[in-house]
Assembly symmetry: C2
């Protein structure tokens, strides 16, 4: 039997995101992908390639959330310390995984599979491999922690490969009303409707486009009936304000 | 006298980033801006609009880092709870700031400044206002915590406005060598050079462009002389591998 609420945390590991050298592209992909399968992403953290920080963060998050996904730090160079740190977080040794070695041997020509590349076959003892159809070197899962590469194309392929084994809760349904009124104008009406529908999460996002100020009102719930009732109630309240509004029928 | 190492943490507040509705654009801006003035961004967190989570995260981060920057949750709607949560984190009441009210009164026509908009003049007692030249409603600073809007254009203007009051440490200098060799080929040479230069942070970032695999090797340090020596040592090591490489002379 599945739980009604399943939670997740994403940990982005890499100095390059914190220094501004690299703009992260993985969080948005995972947020969208998890939401689509009924897993609520509750938190994300960006941390540096520092062993103590990785260990502390992984241990805290795996206790607190149903699933943890890390990206980054599993390549062949000295600054790739994620696999080793995750092994330490779980209190198990890092081992050279025979199947990972076989994958790498099949991929590299004789003489190319040096010690640095073989390091990518090291995973915490007891971990299951996560396939990397892009460049070979696998990720892994241990307990409720999935360890993915940081390169977006590889990370995405890894997530797509394991997605079917994730168990989501009731999917969050979402409806969006676009009101061509500033946020401060709709705020009171929105608050009043929110107070009547505690089980519907209502978010308000101002925009300025085609030279008009407006507000996207996003209503989310796992209860279809209440969601629809809330949209009806909000539409009525907005009509009372006299401004123009419409339901958004295309994705953001 | 300034400290040699000054640290910061960024807290992005908003359900919309975690649900995938919105792709965050603020982290990269702040990471780049802080690095440029000698402040090391050590961690970033994305958290939902949940009071207890905001309070816990703000209190933990303001203890641990020299500066904390939050984005999001200071608008006029019911889901904008950042100011209130930050007041609770500091154990002070939320007050209606007279100067913020004056700013809002000057901005809105008579009858437009409703209670929802006035909420944007509420800040923790003792906070200093942060100017918002884009849309009026200010951010604020309390202790070492800066609270900015989530809309990127407003957040950027707020940061640019307070930047001069931040005290950075020794700036991190950076040099990048682009090697047209796969990461696994350069890994051993890079590790050997890293071991000789502990005070130079060396990062390795694989790329694939113009149908060639390559690796960007980023060397960072606040010590110019050691940085230059490390670049020379790494160049010599790469030359020994026989592959092509060059120093990158333009920013990423």
């Amino acid at each position: 039997m599945s739980k009604s609420t399943v939670t997740a945390c994403v940990i982005l590991i890499g100095n390059e995101i914190l220094s501004g050298r690299t703009q992260d592209a993985n969080l948005h992909f995972l947020a969208t992908g998890l939401t689509a399968i009924g897993i609520q992403l509750r938190e994300a953290r960006v941390i540096p390639d520092v062993e103590a920080t990785i260990i502390e963060t992984v241990n805290l998050c795996r206790e607190r959330f149903d699933y943890v996904f890390t990206t980054g730090g599993i390549g062949p160079t000295h600054d790739d310390i994620t696999a080793d740190a995750v092994a330490k977080a779980f209190g198990v040794p890092l081992i050279r995984h025979p199947q990972a070695v076989a994958i790498m041997e099949a991929r590299y020509e004789s003489g190319q599979l040096n010690e640095a590349r073989l390091k990518m076959a090291d995973v915490p003892e007891g971990a299951a491999l996560v396939a990397n159809p892009v460049s070979g070197a696998p990720g892994f899962r241990i307990g409720n922690v999935y360890v993915f590469a940081g390169v977006p194309k590889i990370m995405q392929a890894m997530f797509d490969g394991i997605k079917a084994e994730l168990v989501g809760g009731a999917p969050m349904l979402s409806r969006t009303i676009v009101a061509f009124m500033p946020e401060g104008t709709v705020a009171d009406a929105l608050r009043a409707v929110q107070e009547r529908f505690a089980e519907v999460e209502m978010g308000s996002y101002p925009f300025y486009r085609s030279q008009r100020f407006g507000t996207s009102l996003v209503l989310r719930s796992s209860d279809t009936e209440r969601l629809n009732e809330a949209v009806a109630a909000l539409s009525e309240a907005l009509a009372g304000l006299g401004g123009e509004f419409e339901e958004q029928t295309t994705p953001d």
